[in-house]
Amino acid sequence: MIKKVLIANRGEIAVRVMRSCRELGIKTVAVFSEADRTSMHVRYADEAYYIGPSPSNESYLVIDKILQIAKKSKADAIHPGYGFLSENAEFSDRCNDEGIIFIGPSAFAINTMGDKITARKTMIKADIPVIPGTTEKIKNVKSAEKIITDIGLPVMIKASAGGGGKGMRLVRKISDVSSAIRAAKSEAKVSFGDDTVYIEKYIDSPHHIEFQILADSYGNVIHLFERECSVQRRHQKVIEETPSPLMNEKIRNEMGNHAVAAAKAVNYEGAGTIEFIVDDDLNYYFLEMNTRLQVEHPITERVVGIDLVKEQINIANGEKLKYKQNDLKQNGHSIECRIYAEDPDKDFMPNPGKIKHITEPFGLGVRIDGYVYEGYEIPMYYDPLISKLIVWAKTREEAIARLKRALYNYKITGVKTTIKFLEKILDCPDFVSGKYNTHFIEENRNFLISKKKSVGKFQDIAIITAFIDYITKIEKLQPEKESHKLCNNWRDFGRKKGVIRL
């Protein structure tokens, strides 16, 4: 039985994991870098140990240091959260070697799913649809044309070494194949020094839909339905919801079964996510598997009613799954939005800094998973995610209204955040109608960055407030006589009580 867990992570996910540990009566051990001494996970944990300088490759990514603290603190298990070492097969193995339970899958599962080509082959073998195409090098235009005819147009010619949209050409007509290959190859050569290109079916209106799965060590696998994650900016998810507005019951069951089969194909253990790309006609293709907890797991927790971190721990403890597939159903609608310390007015430039003031929304159907507090200085070394706001309601329409209500009342000052950008998304007709794909933000760019017109009256009220504050400060300064007044460390409300006489 696991009695003490080291959380090899920071930020909101570390705190979130610790909450479930506390509910299970399990002690928690935090590790922290130089920049994280005052971070919430250090304050929340039962124990906390320093592991190195601020850059994560000198602290949160150093396997040796983490294992050393696990042994020192007598932790019997390690939860990796997401990011950092969570999908590191070596770490999973090393934990095993040291007799410490890794709360996650085996190195084999991580490796198989981590390598795109191996994953693709494994999925094909398990009869799971993958995006039609080839990972082999294109030899000549003729064979390419044959492949493309088999796959069906449109297709994408992609550089094997590619990334960042370079060395890619969209082909909509068979007559364009030859020139597209030539262009892609030459761009690939220049950009990556390697002109290998391959073919993949192009999904015109792609939706990113993923399935949560849970698998125990006895071969039992269940899925906890889908999450719709198509609202993305630069491949970073911004808003997720479940159920997906695109989905129907038949396809849901089919995809769920395929997700379970995918997990079984790698003897998966623990919580994992199968990502699919889905077109408007609900054709779906395996994209990849995330062999860890996802950032957006809370919407599944809310709609299915299961604490995923507790299930991870139960599975790691060698327990059988408590639920059968038929025990589970989706109840109502849940939406998560991610609040980043980024400035939407300056092309989402990250905005580390000190939090001055926070007002959090509360009440019915609202969950907050965050980690910052007033006075906390968000370090520049890590992810700009500061909080996740999750709502639930009976219907999608009510959930959107609730999320708007909550965002309206969510105030964070000191750093710029994406709150207003999120409010814009919720006002956007394409989002409201549920008819959106991964191009949503790009296609609605103008709407999303537009600002409400400034109303003269609001301006006047702003002027009055600043002015009154200013003259209040001046007035308070006048009768200053005593010499030894100082700003103390206390939360002072009203000047008089804030003065210390020593």
Binding site: A341, M349, P350, N351, P352, G353, K356, H357, M380, Y381, Y382, D383, P384, K411, T413, G414, K420, K451, K452, S454, F458, Q459, D460, I461, A462, I463, I464, T465, A466, F467, I468, D469, Y470, I471, T472, K473, D492, F493
Partner: protein, 168 residues
């Protein structure tokens, strides 16, 4: 006594007629306001005007006379103008255009410096790359420039607004 208050590009004339507790009579650009204004949290005001309830958040902006003012949907830069502010403002107007230092508005880490002292760089050329929170930002010159001095090296951790490179 009347004051000038700047809000973004607007300059407003403000005159306080009367103040009694949290009841304030005040004129903004000739328009008379009768407001109930009270600081409820440090830096957060509740204002009631004609029955409408406003919540305004003030953040001091490097000076006791400058504020970032957050209303419901907007954020304004507000400055109370007095003699000292006016003087500084007039002086500022002299040095127009690009400043002679390159700096990042955010703290971060210097990833790459693409120039050496004495280099001549063309308008739009990137001179330094700074990373923060897993994202890299490139800083460019707006005009043809000469690199006079480089104050940091690759790998350095920098503060927001810290001078990085001096140009001419």
């Amino acid at each position: 006594m009347s004051f000038e208050v700047n809000l973004n590009d607007r300059t407003a004339n403000v005159e306080l007629l009367n103040r009694k507790g949290n009841k304030v009579k005040i004129v903004v650009d000739g328009k008379k306001y009768d407001v109930d204004i009270v600081m409820v949290e440090n830096g957060v005001y509740s204002i009631i005007h004609n029955g409408i309830s406003y919540n305004i958040e003030l953040i001091e902006n490097n000076s006791s006379k400058k504020y970032i003012v957050n209303t419901l949907y907007e954020s304004f830069d507000v400055e109370i103008v007095d003699a000292e502010s006016k003087y500084l403002k007039n002086r500022k107007k002299d040095d127009s255009g690009e400043k002679n230092t390159i700096s990042s508005p955010m703290p971060g880490k210097v990833v790459k410096i693409l120039v050496k002292i004495g280099d001549k760089v063309k308008a739009g050329e990137t001179v330094i790359i700074v990373s923060a929170m897993k994202m890299e930002s490139e800083y460019k010159v707006k005009k043809n420039r000469l690199i006079k001095n480089i104050l940091v090296k690759e790998g350095d951790i920098i503060d927001g607004h810290q001078p990085l490179i001096i140009i001419e």
